[in-house]
């Protein structure tokens, strides 16, 4: 399985990421998920979220998850994941994920599983900033 991981402060440009997609002719399903910063948290208006990452551990934990994902869904050809850190204004993406696989079912299952697991073990934290 090809893997591409990026944890950094640059804007996530989904159109550019998709334009760079490299899918073999065995791929029938391309699933993308983008997590956007919403304008309110717990009914309070916010201007954005400051994300803090323990980058070295986050990278290690993401690769452990990719290993496990590959064991669970060996047909998946590629996973690309970008997590933005630092200040992310409302409306912009903090997380982008792409899963390429022969069939749809495993792309959805693996994508959901990876995000659930990320929220359990990858050391990244939010700090809400009032708008």
């Amino acid at each position: 399985m090809r893997r591409q991981l990026s944890i950094g402060s640059e804007l996530i440009d989904e159109a550019v990421l998709i334009a760079r997609r490299d899918a073999s002719h065995g791929i029938g399903a391309a699933l993308c998920f983008s997590g956007l910063v919403r304008g309110s948290e717990d009914s309070v208006q916010i201007g954005g979220i400051e994300y803090e990452a323990f980058s070295e551990m986050a990278t290690h934990q993401f690769h452990r998850l990719f290993d496990e994902l590959e064991r669970r869904w060996p047909m998946i050809e590629s996973v690309r994941l970008v997590h933005r850190v630092g200040w992310v204004p409302v409306g912009e993406s903090s997380l982008w994920l792409e899963v390429l696989s022969p069939h749809r079912a495993e792309s959805f299952a693996a994508g959901q599983w990876l995000i659930d697991e990320m929220k359990r073990v990858v050391p990244i934290w939010k700090r809400i900033q009032k708008g």
Binding site: Y51, E52, F54, H60, L95, K119, R120, I124
Partner: protein
């Protein structure tokens, strides 16, 4: 032996610092180190039930035995995404 502890997210504010060193006996476990941390940083003691602990870049349970110069990370539940 010396082990180093670093705090993340709002645990930094509660501890009042980013890092702290502890001089512990060989054989000290993660759980025993947490007792020492709670004693030195009382504001963290009440959050122990939801505290995550890593040694280096891996999570470790309370019975894990520490080694000299280990870097232990102490943090609240993660919130990526």
């Amino acid at each position: 032996m010396i082990v180093n502890v670093q705090f993340w997210s709002f645990f930094k504010e509660l501890a009042g610092c980013d890092r702290s060193s502890f001089n512990v006996s060989p054989g000290t476990t993660v759980g025993q180190l947490q007792d020492l941390i709670a004693a030195r940083f009382p504001k963290l003691s009440g959050l122990r039930g939801s505290t995550l602990v890593a040694v280096g870049v891996d999570y470790q349970p309370a019975h894990h035995v520490l080694s000299e110069n280990d870097l232990i990370s102490i943090f609240p539940p993660v919130q990526g995404g």
